[in-house]
Amino acid sequence: MMFSVAAIAVLVTMVLTIYRAIKGPTVYDRILAVNAFGTLTVVLIAVYGFLSGRPEFLDLALVYALINFIGTIAVSKYVEFSHMGRPSGGDELGDI
């Protein structure tokens, strides 16, 4: 029962973040919304594991959290510098 409530709340929040990711004025809004969507996917995988009575999906949730972090850092670095190879030397803000 409570798992269904949590899953419905996660799905509603997913719809809201997808709305922001589609509508967002700047690209940083879209990155922010996709990052929140990844966190919600982790929560949804964990809740669905308990909802179906087989909580073995948590390995997938853990791996998805790792991929979400790396992906968000990589996309924000790529959007800022247009490459991911060398660090930004001489900039006053430095590397992110």
Binding site: V12, T26, L32, L58, L93
Partner: protein, 117 residues
């Protein structure tokens, strides 16, 4: 004891669900990109954290709760890092925080208008 653990876990899952929806509404409704980061922070820390801690109370002491603790710790470490990197990238990319207009310019205090810089 079982009843107490169930009550604690249900309370945490309900509070986490409420904060998830509140954070999603904040991501949609707040006027600026730097303000929308607050909504994303609520989703990351309080919403996901409360739901996953409630699931820990539901699972008991086994490998499932260990994995859930790992997920919670990882989210609590990576969410500020991601938000900081994204705010740095946005500030370096030309997005400026929305500054509230002076009171004599906007006597009604409505949030609809946005200043330039």
């Amino acid at each position: 004891m079982e009843m107490l653990l169930d009550a604690i876990s249900w309370l945490l899952i309900l509070v986490g669900s409420v904060f998830l929806v509140v954070g999603g509404i904040g991501v949609v409704r707040l006027p600026d990109m730097f303000a929308r980061m607050h909504g994303a922070g609520i989703i990351d820390t309080l919403g996901a954290g409360a739901v996953l801690i409630g699931l820990i109370f539901q699972a008991g002491l086994n490998i499932v709760s260990v994995k859930l603790v790992l997920i919670v710790v990882f989210i609590l470490f990576t969410s500020p890092t991601t938000t900081h990197a994204l705010a740095r990238a946005a500030l370096n990319g030309g997005v400026r925080p929305r500054v509230e207009a002076p009171p004599e310019d906007a006597p009604t205090g409505g949030g609809g208008e946005s200043s330039k810089t």
